[in-house]
Amino acid sequence: MTAMRAWLLDEAPASPAQAAMGRAYVAWRDFAANPLALTGLIIVLLLVALAVLAPLLTAHDPYAQNLDDRLLPPGAAHWLGTDQLGRDILARILYGARITLMIVGLVAVIAAPVGLVVGCVSGYFGGWLDVVMMRVTDVFLAFPRLILALALVAALGPGIENAVIALALTAWPPYARLARAEALTIRGREFIDAARMQGATAWGIVFTQVMPLCTSSLIVRLTLDMAGIILIAAGLGFLGLGAQPPAPEWGAMIAAGRQYLFDQWWVATMPGLAILVVSLGFNLLGDGLRDVLDPRR
């Protein structure tokens, strides 16, 4: 263990991999020193583990209806109770985590790179390109997120894929703005001048010099936005425009439990708690990452 530490913290790394790992280790040490950030990371990792291991963790089928067991309170047979069609709520929440993760992952994979490229290109090149790209960004930014998502879903038809497209389309403009602001400050740094003097092309500079420095603040912002994306995805599900029944989507589950809220509180409360915990986890993780990934370090 100490040998490992010494290797990681070596003042004179013998390979680029050792240097990169040493750097990552120092960042991890800072991150682990923050208990709240660690809690966030554990929640997110737990979410991933639960989603992957769902079939092993529960014997119940999330789709199996059993009208004899409908609306049972939490107990030994059904730890979190059953819903109006007699389906096990715990199983539905576990399988629902897959849907939530898929939505969050897809939106992140689509929106963040688009925002990063648009912002870095806009900020580095400037001029008319910047004006045009930023006005397009402004147009997208001017639409209220949920309304645009609703309009898209209404046009393309309800369903989880369309909800993802709608969310991604409305999620990228803030990342473009953020990346552009970073690119503007990086553009004037002397290492950019040095690269230009060596004969690097403008596109080469954007991709190898500017973008890596913009990513860390983007990752932080993305993590903090995850909670919002989960909430909007749940909102679409709640309105019946996201995942369609019988898919165990958390928002749709709350919508279904709404009519039993006073007598069978667990039907809506359990998925609500799941959304709360996961959103909180992403927020804590984002805060911790912000401290570690500060580009000024």
């Binding site: 003042e11 004179a12 790394p13 013998a14 390979s15 680029p16 050792q18 240097a19 750097r23 740094r189 002397e190 290492f191 001048d193 040095a194 690269a195 230009r196 003097m197 060596q198 004969g199 690097a200 080469g204 190898t208 010099q209 890596p212 420095l213 580009p295 370090r297």
Partner: protein, 263 residues
């Protein structure tokens, strides 16, 4: 080696045209070091950045080895001119290791044997192999400036442009870096153009120097003339006096301090 004729640069700011450099001419023979001194705002850095090809909009003529330099330059033209920047904290990419910083120009110019060249370049500036995979934040200011010098020299340019290469460093490290620059010039017959507000640095490194004020060259003289104070214009004399005056004052402060200590 390099000839600058009637160079003028103007910046446009909010519809107004602000002249930064007006009709500057000078020539530097191969292997010589030429200094540009002046207060901040005198246009000396603008001259250097224009020669470097970092400013696109200028008038006049810049010739390197008899070949005129256009506003757009190809890689071969860029390779002849490299630059060491003022701020060693800003001139190295914070996420790139030393080896990566040095490999980038080699890759751009398709130069082979990168590993060997990187080691040689580091050795030339007095850094050993252990520094290869360090990040800039693991280096001191002087070490960073050495890496920046290695980066400028790794393409084997004919001319090196030095923009206040020591002003961001500690006094003790300044002397080391100046010695290094002096030695490298002798070993490789490099041509230097040095910009500084510090007369002492320029006199130390250069044979000839020009004094700039308000975008114009006020006077050109040899370094030994400057050392003797044998200059023609009042402005240059003022510069020399102010640099000496500063030294005298610090000297007196030292004497006074010593006096206090002995009594």
């Amino acid at each position: 080696m390099i000839r600058v004729e009637d160079l003028s640069v103007a910046f446009r700011a909010g519809g107004r045209v602000v002249p930064a450099v007006r009709g500057v001419s000078f020539a530097v023979p191969k292997g010589a070091a030429f200094g540009l001194v002046g207060e901040s705002g005198s246009g000396k850095t603008t001259v250097l950045r224009t020669i470097a090809g970092l400013i696109d909009d200028w008038d006049g003529r810049i010739e390197v080895d008899g070949v005129p330099m256009g506003a757009k330059r190809d890689r071969a033209a860029r390779r002849q001119l490299q630059m060491v920047f003022q701020d060693p904290y800003g001139s190295l990419h914070p996420r790139h290791t030393v080896a990566r910083t040095l490999a980038a120009p080699l890759r751009l110019h398709g130069v082979g044997e990168r590993d060997r060249r990187i080691d040689a370049a580091l050795a030339d500036v007095g850094l050993d192999r252990r520094f290869r995979y360090r990040y800039p934040n693991q280096l001191s200011g002087g070490q960073r400036q050495r890496v920046a010098i290695a980066r400028a020299l790794i393409l084997e340019p004919a001319i090196v442009l030095l923009d206040e290469p020591t002003s961001a460093l500690d006094v003790s490290v300044q002397a080391e870096v100046l010695d290094l620059l002096d030695r490298l010039r002798r070993e490789r017959a490099l041509t230097y153009i040095l910009v500084s507000h510090d007369l002492g640095v320029v006199v130390r490194l250069c044979e000839t120097m020009a004094v700039m004020r308000n975008g114009e060259v006020v006077e050109t003289a040899t370094a030994s003339a400057f050392r003797k104070g044998a200059v023609a214009t009042d402005y240059a004399r003022g510069l020399i006096e102010s640099s000496r005056g500063y030294r005298r004052e610090t000297r007196m402060a030292e004497v006074a301090e010593a006096g206090i200590r002995t009594t």
